[in-house]
Structures are given as C-alpha cells and as structure tokens.
Amino acid sequence: MNNTETVKAGLKKRYAREKRFQFYGKAAVMSGFVFLIFLLFDITTKAIPAFSITEILLEVPMDRSSLGLSTDTSVSIDDEAIAAIDYAGLVKKSLRSQFPEATKRKDKKLLYRLMSGSAEYELRQLIIDDPGLIDGEPLSIWFKADDDVDTFYKLKRNTSRIKAQQVEFIASLKTESRIRTALNWDFFTNGDSREPEQAGIKGALLGSFWTLLVTLMVSLPVGIAAAIYLEEFAPQNRLTDFIEININNLAAVPSIVFGLLGLAVFINFFGMPRSVPLVGGLVLSLITLPTIIISSRAAIKSVPPSLREAALGLGASHMQMVFHHVLPQAMPGVLTGAIIGMAQALGETAPLLMIGMVAFIVDVPDGVLDSATVLPVQIFLWADSPESAFTALTAATILVLLAFLTVMNALAILLRNYFERQR
C-alpha cells in the first residue's frame, strides 16, 4: 500500500471525526443559549403570579352605630374619634354580615383569616381622607385577600393552609362574583413587609437608587481623574507600574473581600452607620473603580494624537489640551464604561450583606443616610422566606432587576454605536 492509499483509507474516519468535533462546538454554544433561555423562562413563569392579587368585595356599613361613634347627629366627629374607630372590628363585622352562617367561633376565625391584615389600614385611610363618608351609604370596597387565599384562588393550588370551610367561603364569594384578581400595584408602591400580599419593592428600588447615586458620584470623577493621570501625565516609572498592577488585581478580587474592607474600615474604623446607602455606595464605588478606570483609559487612548498636537501647537497647556480637547472626545467611551460599571454595581449583593444592608426595613429610604436595602439583597431576603408567595415576589423582583440591567446595557451599546459612527 502506498502513501496515497493509506491516507485514503483513513479519510472516512477523519472526516467523521471532523464532523463530530464541529458538532461538539455547536452543542457547546447551544447549551449556553439553552441554559439562558431556560433560566429566563423559569424565572418569568415563577414571577407571573406576583403581578396579580386576589381581592374580595366587602360591604362596609357607614352608619354611626356600626362605627361605634355616638349616635347623636348633633355631635361633630373630630379626628380623634375617627382615629379611635375599631377598623379591624369593622372589617370583621362586614365579613360576618356577608356570611351570617358562620356562627361558631372556629368558623368566624377562619372567616376573618380570608382577609389581609392591610384591610383595616386601607379602610382607616379612606375615612381619614374623607370623613364625609360617615353617615353615608354602606361602602363597597375591594380589599386584598390573605396571601394563602391569594395563592389558592390564583393558582388553583390548595396548600394545607386553606381549610375546607374557607374553600366553601371562597366558592360562595365566587358565585356572587365578590372575589377577583387585580393588578398588584402595591408590588411597586409598597415597602417590604412580612405579609407577602403587602410587600413591595419600592424601598429596595429607592435604596438601589441612593446607593448607585453615591457610587456614581464617587467612582466617576475619581475613575476619570485616575485614567487621565495614568494615560496623559504619569511618568514611566515603578510607581506607575505599581498602580497599574493594583488596578488589574483589584478588578479580580472577589467582591466579598471588598465587603470585609467596608466593614473593617468604614463601619468599625470611621464609625459610619450600618445598613445605609452611603456606606454601600462607597464600597460599590471601590468595586466599580477598576472597571471605570480601565474603560476610560481605553477611551482616552483612542483619541487621535493629531488632536493633541494641534491643541499643543496652538499654545494650549498640557492640562488645557486634556480637558478642552481630549476628554470631550473620549467622553462617550468613558460614559459607556461608567454605565457598565453601574450595571455591575446594581447586581452586586455579597459586599452589601457584610455592611448590614440585609436588615428588614419597611420604610422607604429618603436619603443616603436612611437605613435601606437594595434590589439584589431584597431578592436574597425574599428567596429565604418560608412563605410560598414570596417565591413569586422574588422572581418578579429578579425580572425588575434584569429589566434595569437590560436598559443600562442597551444604553451603553447605543452610546458606543453612536460614538463609533461619529468617528
């Protein structure tokens, strides 16, 4: 057998091997895609229940005797009397009149448990806002149902938490069309809560906003300044090399180590308060700084030297050349890097756990010194909650977080494309 024949004999096998290899490559790429799609699909399906909520229609009597007020109509009703009304009792009374058959103590208790604890506060707010409602017609109001009822009604899934008696109540409500599912606006307008039907992400959203604001205010100026120095002024010496090595290494240090730094330096050494966006923002700006410095340097480097030489030739000082000509040209690139850095900071969780942003906080933060939590930490907290309704809330929060990240990254891409077209 000569050489040609040897080669020919092996050809079929070799081509098969070639095909197989190419198939492995395709499979690898596809497996990445499939995982991504599966992840998004899984989270979306888990999230859908969180966007709707079950409500129950109640007739609330508004006459004075039901409200427990003095029946003498000549007596005007002051704020104090309104505040003293037993709203919880009122809700219970309305429920009892809806279901007169529930007379046993046990049944009543189950009946009361249909409603969310927020019903009495809602009612109270309604009457405080408009005291004229008193003495008027009975009000028909849609109140939020308890989260177990919500899960049962929305998902048609019975957990052991809904008793047979309650199932009957709900069925009867349904035949009278006194139960419905509505859009869950409270998810966007409420702070955190122990009750899933009342919990919302507004607190976490604003917490993220304040934290990112601090991060941006610190890391953008410092990052740009450092990039300018390293690109335009720094002499070639050991110190400059050392700074560059440091920046590259910081980019790869696990974020949790930055959390330890924040805990040891900002909180224990400088005595800053725990759980506040200010400290969170400072820690995150240290994490994003390498990203911003590296991308800003690339942007500054890409400004053509002719521009610099023209500026210097016309008598500009080095500093004027940089700030009047180079920086404006590099700005879109710098901002692209800044947006990517902010997106990174928005998703960061571990370092914020270290500095105590995991506290349960109901109030919506008003500034950088209010205790707050952020979106990813809220996800972490809710994912840990035992109540099943929180799973949907967690997934919904993840969708909100991913939406923000998508918008930020899209902005960065648009900016980069625009920038490249300008050239």
Binding site: R14, R17, E18, F21, Q22, G25, K26, A28, V29, S31, G32, F33, F35, L36, L39, D42, I43, K46, P221, G223, A225, A226, Y229, F242, I243, N246, I247, N248, N249, A252, V253, P254, I256, V257, F258, L260, L261, L263, A264, V265, F269, L289, S317, G347, T349, A350, M354, G356, V358, P376, V377, I379, F380, A383, T394, A395, I398, L401, L402, L405
Partner: protein
C-alpha cells in the same frame, strides 16, 4: 443640619469669591498684561476661600464629639464622678438619649447635664462658624488683593488639578492597602486566639461560641479544612462544566462560526456573565437543586436538598463566558500562517485545531481557566443560597458542603460583637480567599502576558 448650612455658606462664599475675582481681573489695567486668564484668577481665589474653611470644618466635625464628651464629664458633680465608670456611662447614655429624642429626662442630674451639653454645643457651633467665616473672608481678601496678580494663576490651578489627579490614581493603591491591612489586622487578632495550625489543618468547624464559659461546646472549633474542601469541590464541579463547554464555544466561535453568527452569539453568551449572581443563586436553590434531588431519588440515590452539585453546575454555567471570551481572544491571536501551514499539509480543520492551534494557544487558555477558577472560588451568592451551612468533610457531590464565602457571610450577618473569635474568623477566611485569588490572578496574568510576547 448645622454642618449642611455651614457647608452651603462656604460654597456660597466660594462662588462670591469667584465672581468678584473674575470681575476684578477682567477689568485689570496694569502696566503689563496679566499672565493668566480671568477665570484662572477667579478659580484660584475660590480655592483659597473654600479649601482651608472646608478643611477646618472637617477637622472640627471629627474632634467635636470628643470635645463635648469631655465638657460633660468635666461638669459631672463629684458624687456621680466618684461612681464606677459603668454608672457614668449610663448617665451619659441617658443624656444622649434625651438630646436625640428631645424629651426631658425625669432625673434632675441628667437634666443639668443636658443643659451643660447644649451650652457647650452652642459654644462650639459659634466658634466653628466664626473660624470658618474668618478663613473664608481671609481667602477672599487674599484673592482680591494685588498679591494675586503677581502669581501665575494658571500654573497654580493646574498644579492643584494635577495633585488631584495623582490623588485619585492613588485610590487603587490605598484600596489594596486597605484590604490587606483590614483583613490582616483582624486575622492576626484571630490567630492570637486560635492557632494558625488548628485553623489551617483542623478538620472540625463549628464557630458557635457560647456566651457563658460553662456551656457545652463553649470553645468553638475553627478547623477550616472542611471549608477549603467544600470550596474546592464546588469549584471543581463548576470547572468541569465550564472548561469543556467554554473551550468548545471559543473554538467554534473563532474557527467555524460565520461572522454574522459570531456577532450575535458572543454578546448573547456574555449575558450569562452579566446576570447578577443572586439570580443564579435563586435559580440554583429553587429549580436546579430540587430537580437534581428528584432525579437522584428516582434512581435511588439520597441527595441532600442543598447538594454541592446544584451550586457547582449553576456556577459552572456562570463562568462559561469567562473561559470562552478569553480563550476566544487567544485562539484568534494565533497567527494565520500556522493554520495555513497545517491545512496545506492535508490536515482537517479539527486536526489543525487539536494539533496546532490549541498547543500554540495553551498558555493563554490556561490563563483563562485560572481566572475562571479564581472567580469560582470567590463567588458568594450562588453558594450562600444553594449550598449548605453545615461543614461536612466530604467529597461526595450529592451531599451538602459549605464554602469559605458562605461562612464569611454567615459569621458576619446579623448582630455580632466585633471582638469574638467567631467574627474575627471571617476575616481570617477573607485573608485566605484574598491570597488565593490574588495568587491565581497573578499567575494567570503572567502566563497570558508571556504568551502574548511570544507572538508579538
């Protein structure tokens, strides 16, 4: 509140100084022309006005609390001052509480202390405001006097600016030093309580220390081997997923894929790296872990609900882009002539890749794998949510293990006193983590750089 208004006043005076100085230098009519532009003079004046005052304000706000504390302690009557330091501390706490809440304490002693405190605070506030004003006005006067026109304002401003630039680029160094010092310092305190040997080679980890010394298990044991092993196990599972998939992805995208497919596929895969890790953690804990458990049980295996496998698989997917992106870069950097040579000798494309390109790109690929490994070791949220808390010394991927990062988070979240070995242990673990990832990164960067030099 007081600090804010003082700050606003300083800023206002700074703006005024800028405006006045600008007017003055714009209308300058001396024997020779000015050496700098009006806004240079104006900026310099503003800096002179604002900087010293701001500095004073900051220093003042740092020393003020201890000054006030001293004032109150000095005004304590002897009968209280003679009591134990605990009792005094209690009084001081009540004073602070009364001031913070604005309520009146029933105790006349506390009341008098509150009065003394408020008097001292008022004095300090007046003094501070007066000194800041003097500094500001001094700055303005200096800036508006003739002295200013003798200096080269642009050079002065540019020098300040350059100092600021240098300062900012120093932040990277300061951060590194800060990390090293804070972690090292607390670790040394930890190693004073627990020996290094026990920590590095002990096989039992139960950091719970009890409050009373006579309780069972009061000492707590800090053998970190189970944590190291757990971290290694999960990272290994992640690498087993990420290295083949990432490498094959990189090969396909750089050698086979058309340009159009590449421009879509590469950013799409990089989305995997951009998804926050807490999302992966949720996915691992609520979807993958139950799935693995069900599959395992259906074939008769007992699987822990927080198995190392679930966390490892999801982490592996997360780091695919880290492997594929960098490997893609190095594979594309292999000179075309090497490909052409191999193909011309009759090799198929896969043979070229396996026999020529991969060996040539190997250092770069190793570098990317090392970087991905350091990611996996330092990754926190996935393991916090999907891996266990119990420190089992096992290499069975179906059992629950815990990792270094999980323990750092558990030791440091929630209320804790800062001096207990339990909290300090977190810093010792942090030191281990920092050193390991730093070493991996340094080696990886070194390998990649050496490789680049080879072909440039």
């Amino acid at each position: 509140m007081q600090v804010t208004s003082l700050f606003l006043m300083i800023v206002g005076l700074g703006l005024l100084a800028f405006f006045l100085s600008f007017q003055r230098s714009a209308r300058y009519n001396g024997p020779t022309r000015l050496r700098s532009l009006p806004h240079h003079y104006a900026s310099l004046t503003a800096v002179w006005t604002v900087f010293p005052a701001l500095l004073l304000m900051i220093v003042w706000s740092i020393i003020e609390p201890s000054y006030l504390q001293q004032k109150i302690e000095a005004s304590l009557t002897t009968e209280i001052a003679d009591q134990s330091s605990d009792a005094i501390g209690l009084y001081l706490n009540r004073v602070h509480l009364a001031i913070a809440s604005g309520t009146v304490d029933a105790d006349p002693v506390v009341q008098s202390l509150v009065v003394a405190y408020e008097k001292a605070a008022l004095q300090s506030r007046y003094l501070n405001t007066a000194m800041v004003l003097v500094l500001c006005l001094g700055g303005i006067t200096l800036g508006l006097s003739k002295i200013l026109f003798k200096v080269h304002a642009r050079v002065g401003i540019e020098r300040l600016l350059k100092a600021f630039l240098i300062l900012c680029s120093g932040v990277a160094i300061v951060t590194t030093i800060g990390i090293v010092l804070s972690v090292l310092f607390e670790s040394i305190r930890f190693f004073n309580a627990v020996s290094v040997f026990d920590f590095m080679f002990g096989t039992s980890w139960s950091p719970q220390t009890s409050i009373r010394s006579d309780q069972v298990g009061s000492s707590g044991s800090f053998g970190a081997v189970p944590l190291f092993l757990g971290t290694l196990l999960i990272s290994l599972i992640a690498m087993v997923i990420a290295v083949p998939v990432g490498l094959m992805t990189a090969i396909y995208l750089s050698e086979y894929a058309t340009g159009k497919f590449r421009t879509i596929a590469k950013p799409t895969l990089e989305v995997l790296a951009g998804i926050p890790t807490v999302v992966y953690g949720f996915f691992a804990a609520l979807t993958i872990a139950p799935f693995i458990r069900n599959v395992g049980e259906s074939i008769g295996l007992s699987v822990a609900s927080e198995s190392a496998l679930a966390a490892g698989i999801v982490m592996g997917v997360m780091i695919i882009p880290f492997v594929s992106s960098l490997s893609d870069d190095v594979i594309r950097a292999v000179p075309q002539s090497m490909r052409d040579g191999s193909l011309a000798l009759g090799a198929t494309r896969s043979e070229t890749i396996k026999k020529v390109i991969i060996p040539a790109a190997l250092p770069g690929i190793v570098g990317s794998v090392l970087l991905a490994a350091s990611r996996a070791i330092g990754e926190t949220m996935i393991v916090v949510m999907a891996a266990g808390l119990a420190a089992n010394l096992t290499v069975n991927p179906l059992e629950a293990v815990t990792t270094v990062t999980v323990q750092i988070v558990t030791l440091l979240t929630g209320d804790q006193e800062f001096d207990s070995p339990k909290t300090l242990a977190a810093f010792a673990l942090g030191l281990m983590l920092f050193v390991t990832t730093l070493l991996l990164n340094v080696i990886a960067l070194h390998v990649v750089r050496r490789y680049r030099e080879q072909y440039e």
